[in-house]
Point group: C2
């Protein structure tokens, strides 16, 4: 870590949290914060272009990779990008490797941009009568003239699972939450949060509960972070989709998903990075027999088609991997797929790195 | 422009300033601000991944291109990226097209991310006894815990050309300037500027002159923006390099350039986006005979080699085009060049779009 250059040069196996903690001691900030940041590695984050709650203000992993070194399938070492904050020499191979899911080469070193650590953070939960009003408030907050550092959604079904972790009695009904943060210098974080609170109240929030201290803040985040696991534990069959839509279309997305889950007899939990339009839809069934699996498959495809009809993308931050690769042609045109397969062939004619990922 | 999605969908021929002005009326901000923003087009900005003074805080054009449409050399239309704020479906072809200088396809539509317009800006000139102390102060400002929205350098030679545009008597000698801005809400912009002023004074600034109003600010920027033209007018032979180095290496870069220009009998003007380590080095000669041209060619190559030795890149924001393409092999390894030529061939086997650019 070179504070004078606001730069970290790391091996791919460094755990994200380790870097975050190390640079924080120097007053610096490495923003990308996937939910798995205490176990996921920076190499993996770069290979998947990982996101997280802070992306709504600070951008994704790609925005912090200035350059990298990778071993190509040929065995040659590729140095791409630079250790500088700007660079436009040739095609941007560093950014192409970021998010390529290990299918073009193996990242062996990363040059990561650091920024000053925000001096203060304000955190609050805003409770709305139903998920539709909660997501309508997301749009209102995001277009109100400030950029919060997090806008996370937990719908009523998620709340029913994590009620015990919440700092208030279970709200019941279809009540849904936004977890919102602002940051900056002390006064700005405070002023921005006051602004957010006013916007939420204007959008029919029943309550806005500020986190009084770091322990209260940690408790709010624990509730948010435990959702995925609790959903997984609650169901026999579980499929997680990771769609993103333009901000104004989030309400339509939730309405469409609600209708589809009734039609298919499935239970869907909606949560995640609403400020980016990036909603995690976890679809579950109580049984995992053939018939439930078939209903699930039908619903997944219909959800993804609905997302694309809303101008969205089928994966905001999780990528295609093997699980979603069959859906790539829903979003990518034949011209795009042909170029992408050509890229794979150019880098890896023998198909030896991470075979089977991204494309069949 | 869809304020509810914080999105602009534009044709490539829209002039950058036109979009900036249009979204500003809606309280929104399109940050990338090349010096030519009143004439350059958004399509050109995307094709070259244009930068500008605001990039030090807000990033470059690439960071605002969510998606795009382009006509491929085959005549097919490519839709890449999405209209969402996040997306990781397949290889990032949108970002690959950004900065490809028209050599992979012709951009026909852009989906651009917008953010809230900062409510207040503070501007100041900081005058240092010499360029070495000015650039040392750049590092001090950038690592002092805040991110200014601009940190522009004008060295003593630039000042001698634009002295009439400055809001004070010509300082003379080797006195050099930083033009610094902070932004955010009113209080934060003010507090951050007070912080910057204190850091500059601590780094031996002779004077720090705040811009009292918009007219004073405009006058400061006019001086900064007129440098390129004035340098061009002042010399018979003129070559502009656009290097970037890690922040801590800027002082060494200026020392190296000073020595090289004495050795080659040339006059070099250093200015530009010092907060990004992106210094524009304009090298000039009083005559343009064969002998001066030879000296210039020697110096250019030595400067670029010095930049690479300092861990830098030979182009921070202007790209290779035709003028600099012969230097690509100085920075890019054979493995990188082979992949880049393979990319060109994949997209454009007949070499019909923008032939001769980037690579010989």
């Amino acid at each position: 870590i070179t504070p004078a250059d606001m730069l970290a040069v790391v091996e791919p196996g460094v755990v994200t949290m380790t870097l975050r903690d190390a640079v924080r001691k120097m007053g610096l900030f490495y923003p990308p914060d996937p939910a798995s940041l205490d176990v996921s590695t920076l190499g993996g984050n770069a290979a998947t272009n990982a996101g997280g709650p802070a992306c709504v203000k600070y951008g994704v992993t790609r925005d912090y990779v200035l350059g990298l070194e990778a071993v190509l399938p040929s065995g040659e070492l590729l140095r791409a990008g630079a250790a500088t904050r700007k660079g436009v020499v040739g095609y941007d191979l560093a950014t192409l490797l970021v998010g390529s899911e290990g299918t073009l080469g193996i990242i062996t070193r990363l040059f990561l941009k650091l920024i000053p650590h925000p001096r203060a953070t304000r955190t609050a939960l805003a409770l709305f009568p139903d998920p539709e009003r909660a997501v309508a408030a997301v749009g209102a907050v995001m277009t109100s003239g400030i950029t919060p550092s997090c806008v996370e959604l937990m719908d009523h079904r998620c709340l029913s699972l994590v009620a015990g972790d919440l700092p208030f009695p279970p709200p019941g009904g279809r009540a849904s939450l936004l977890l919102i943060e602002t940051d900056g210098d002390e006064a700005a974080a405070e002023a921005d949060m006051a602004h957010v609170v006013a916007v939420c109240r204007g959008m029919s929030a029943d309550q806005v509960l500020p986190a009084g201290d770091e322990a209260a803040r940690e408790r709010m985040w624990r509730a948010r972070r435990s959702i995925s696991l609790r959903v997984h534990e609650s169901a026999a069959l579980y499929v997680s989709e990771d769609v993103a839509v333009p901000l104004s279309r989030i309400p339509e997305l939730l309405v469409a998903v609600e209708a589809l889950q009734c039609e298919h007899g499935l239970l869907t939990y909606a949560f995640g990075h609403a400020g980016d339009g990036n909603i995690h839809l976890n679809m579950t069934a109580a049984t995992c027999d053939t018939e439930a699996t078939r209903r699930m498959e039908n619903m997944v495809e219909k959800v993804l088609r609905a997302v694309l009809d809303l101008g969205g993308t089928i994966s905001g931050e999780h990528g295609l991997g093997m699980a979603k690769r069959r859906f790539a042609p829903l979003e990518l045109s034949p011209a795009s797929l042909a170029l992408q397969k050509g890229l794979k062939k150019l880098f890896d004619p023998g198909r030896i790195v991470n075979p089977g990922k991204l494309f069949p």
